[in-house]
Amino acid sequence: MDKYRNALLTFLLAGIALGFASCSSGPSEEELAQLDALKAEVSSLQKEVASKQTIKSDLQKQIADKEANLTQQQNELKEAQDLLK
């Protein structure tokens, strides 16, 4: 009789444990979807930032080249003006 009582108790405890496991206080489906959307937005922003950084760096290089050309042109202009004085 004791054996059967112990077995019943074990089944009861197992049932309670399973119940706890399945009904523990995790985030809801809606909240998980919210987190996924946030992560997707972050990933998209990271890509956009990387692309803008490339554009900025290209522009800076272009500007450095143009500044060098302009300086050379200005020097040549001055040289020509001095020679023609």
Binding site: N6, G26, L35, L38, L59, I63, L77
Partner: protein
């Protein structure tokens, strides 16, 4: 005994379910942490993006202002040097045209090489010739002209070193008459025209002058014209 074993199996099963459930499922606290972290990251990225957009806008504006300055400077420079550069380009195209001729055609237009040399020398005398940007161009131009001169020399072109009148009776007429020159005194204008750079007056040559003797003694129209002008001036 069976019941005991069954209970043990049941307990193990429950333990497994609990462990795997704990591993798979996110707790509310973890979710909240991730939401907080990602929200902060998103806000930082938005701020960074705004800053980048502003930077790009200002760089674009500066780039456009540089374009405008460059155009204005280039226009001013062109105003000062445009005509000079056009002369250089014209001379270069003439040199290239002669360079592309066959040796025979080039020889027939040999006089033009001297004209090109004179034109190049004139350009070099102008004030703008002092500009650094033209130096390598002039050097290359001179080497092309030199190459043209070299080609017209030809392997058969002889040279003759003028002796004295007293001893050698050297004048253009007598030089042309020599058997190893043209064996034809009337071909003397060929020697004159072939050495215009050192013979201004065909009646005057000096001891020690090294004269080029063109291979073909036949006078071109220009050489005949120069000879006629010489005779009409003389008589």
């Amino acid at each position: 005994m069976i019941v005991r074993k069954l209970s043990l199996v049941m307990l193990l099963l429950v333990a497994c379910v609990l462990v795997s459930s704990a591993q798979d499922k996110m707790t509310k606290e973890e979710w909240q942490n991730q939401i907080t972290q990602n929200t902060k990251l998103r806000d930082d990225l938005r701020t960074q993006l705004n800053g980048l957009n502003k930077d790009i806008d200002s760089l674009n504006a500066y780039n456009a202002s540089l374009d405008s300055k460059m155009k204005s400077t280039a226009d001013q420079l062109k105003q000062l040097t445009g005509a000079y550069e056009a002369s250089i380009a014209d001379l270069n195209s003439k040199i290239d045209a002669l360079t592309n001729l066959s040796d025979a055609d080039l020889y027939a237009r040999k006089a033009e090489i001297d004209q090109l040399q004179a034109a190049k020398d004139d350009l070099m005398k102008q004030k703008l010739a002092g500009m650094k940007r033209y130096q390598s161009g002039f050097a290359s131009m001179q080497s092309k002209i030199d190459a043209l001169k070299e080609r017209t020399k030809g392997p058969n072109e002889k040279q003759y070193t003028v002796g004295t009148w007293a001893k050698d009776r050297d004048c253009l007429w007598n030089i042309a008459k020599k058997k190893d020159i043209y064996a034809n005194a009337f071909a003397w204008p060929k020697i004159w025209q072939g050495n215009r750079d050192q013979i201004k007056d065909p009646d005057i040559i000096h001891k020690g002058q090294v004269l080029k003797i063109p291979a073909d003694p036949t006078l071109t129209d220009a050489e005949k014209k120069a000879t006629r002008a010489y005779w009409s001036k003389k008589h």
